[in-house]
Amino acid sequence: MPKTVFYRANAIVYFQGDKADGIPILKTGKIELAYEDIQTGAEIRESIKTGEFFGVKAALGNYPHDEIAMAITDCLVIHFSIAEFESFVAEHPRILMKMLQVFSTQLRRIHHQVQNLLSTDRINTNQEAGMFAIGEYYLKEKQYPKAYYTFKKYLQHWPKGIYAPQATLKAGIAEKSLYGNSPAVSEANEESLEPPVPPAANFDEIDARYKMGNYKEAMRGFLSIVQNEQDKAILAIAEFRIGCCLYHLDMFNEAAGQLASAIRRHPDESFLGEELFYIGLCHKELGEMEKAYNFFVKAGNLIPKDGPLYKQVLEKTREVRDMRGSNT
């Protein structure tokens, strides 16, 4: 049986940090909850209406109260055990639904606050790139059903996404490995599969789109070149350009990764200085000034001093030089 307890004005019903045993409901009088705002530390007070349960979250979540409950006037409080509370709300679905709504609003709010703080630190990986990367992981691990699922879902959500041509190709590889009567397709004969993407348009056309600032379109074009082209020199520049497109599409982490792997695959290209410059730009955007500075200096040593890019490199080098200490 729930038991009724009388509290005098100024008495404490429970303290912050107390283990919640049971759930109180205010019958008569006035009760206030007081707690500190997580962000500012300022005290927040909230009054409880008669007929309202309080301290429910701590009791149901099985953690200590994160607020103090004080009687402002003389009060009558009915204490329910958790089992009593559960059977009470089970018979009052409207109260239950109201509580679910209140809790879900609170959860949504706090979830947003957390996400906001996280995104200012730019650690949220791009959703599209993230999902594509998972598909690639499963394909590499030869877990074909999972790879197939992931690429298919990717294409379902982003049919015109930047990785769509690659996802189509790789979903095909995963599917053939799944249903084909031959054993799993190895990396080596991936190229022998007919690519389901249209053949590459000519390089100059795609590069023109890039120069006009159509980065998404240009990126798709460069991706199809990468999948179809045999000429090493064209491959190298297409891979470099994909990195530039990612940079212009504000995907700085991905851009830096793409550029670094382009350099690894094609280390001796004449545009190495330009590639390093773009990696520097990515680090600058990511707030990594020390790294940006180092890349700009390296780029400056490689880029011809009479070319148009050199001035830009010098400018950026100066810009980040003075910002370096600020983020360490």
């Binding site: 997580i38 962000q39 500012t40 530390g41 300022a42 429910v56 979250k57 701590a58 009791a59 149901l60 979540g61 099985n62 953690y63 994160d66 559960e86 709300v89 089970a90 018979e91 679905p93 239950l96 639904m97 509580m99 679910l100 809790f103 879900s104 609170q106 959860l107 949504r108 706090i110 979830h111 606050q113 957390v114 996400q115 703080l117 996280l118 630190d121 650690i123 990986t125 959703q127 599209e128 993230g130 999902m131 990367a133 998972i134 992981y137 691990e141 059903p145 999972k146 699922y149 992931t150 879902k153 959500h157 990511l286």
Partner: protein, 220 residues
């Protein structure tokens, strides 16, 4: 649960075979699930390793954040064995919950825990001192451990977490987090191993975090 409820549920039953993906990290989602039979694993691909974060049993929910918003899934869910799940979405959930108070109470408890977890995470992220943020991650993780393990407590704690895990909770990039961990290691507050991180004395980290938090409060 009476017969009527069961028949009402049949429409929402979905089955998954062992090792099948139920949903994938980053995938947009608007459904959430209650496990009827079988177990599922929650995994994330971190670096080049598929890491199991948790295993869920019959009676447990997952994907419930989809009820609140169309946020991308924060982890992948994979069937550990053949599974029978109830699949809900925002439009049918209220009717289902009203008809099934036990399930609603379970969800209410889950929300209560999630609110607490998120508040705790938020408290870490509001620390402006990056060192305190990293230290508070260890404090938070230790708080969830059972008290009975802490008898005759020397304060030593062992974490099977990677630097990337810690960095994510602390809201910073992994390379920055690593620098801070190295700094703590030089102070002999922690030891970083390939497969684990050991905290020498958690009470020392609690004191450190509290002093930084109080300092920050007084600045405001």
């Amino acid at each position: 649960m009476n017969l009527l409820d069961l028949s009402k549920f049949e429409r929402f039953v979905r089955t998954f075979k062992e090792n099948e993906i139920i949903f994938c990290e980053y995938e947009p989602g608007d459904t959430f699930y209650l496990i009827q039979a079988g177990r599922v694993k929650i995994v994330k691909i971190i670096g080049n390793i598929e890491k199991i974060i948790d295993i869920l049993k019959p009676g447990e929910f997952f994907g419930e954040m989809a009820l609140l918003e169309n946020a991308p899934r924060s982890a992948s869910i994979i069937a550990l064995e053949n599974c029978k799940l109830l699949e809900f979405n925002r439009s049918n959930f209220e009717a289902l919950m009203t008809g099934n108070p036990q399930m609603a109470i379970k969800l209410l408890s889950l929300f209560a825990q999630r609110i607490y977890d998120q508040k705790r995470r938020f408290a870490i992220l509001t620390l402006s001192d990056e060192y305190a943020r990293v230290a508070d991650v260890f404090v938070m993780l230790a708080e969830t451990w059972r008290l009975e393990y802490m008898d005759s407590d020397t304060g030593k704690r062992v974490y099977n977490n990677s630097v990337a895990d810690i960095a994510q909770w602390a809201g910073m990039r992994a390379d920055r987090c690593r620098q801070i961990l190295i700094h703590f290691q030089e102070q002999q507050r922690i030891k970083v191993f390939n497969d684990r991180i050991e905290v020498t004395n958690i009470h020392d980290l609690v004191r450190f975090v509290n002093s930084r938090r109080n300092f920050q409060k007084n600045q405001n």
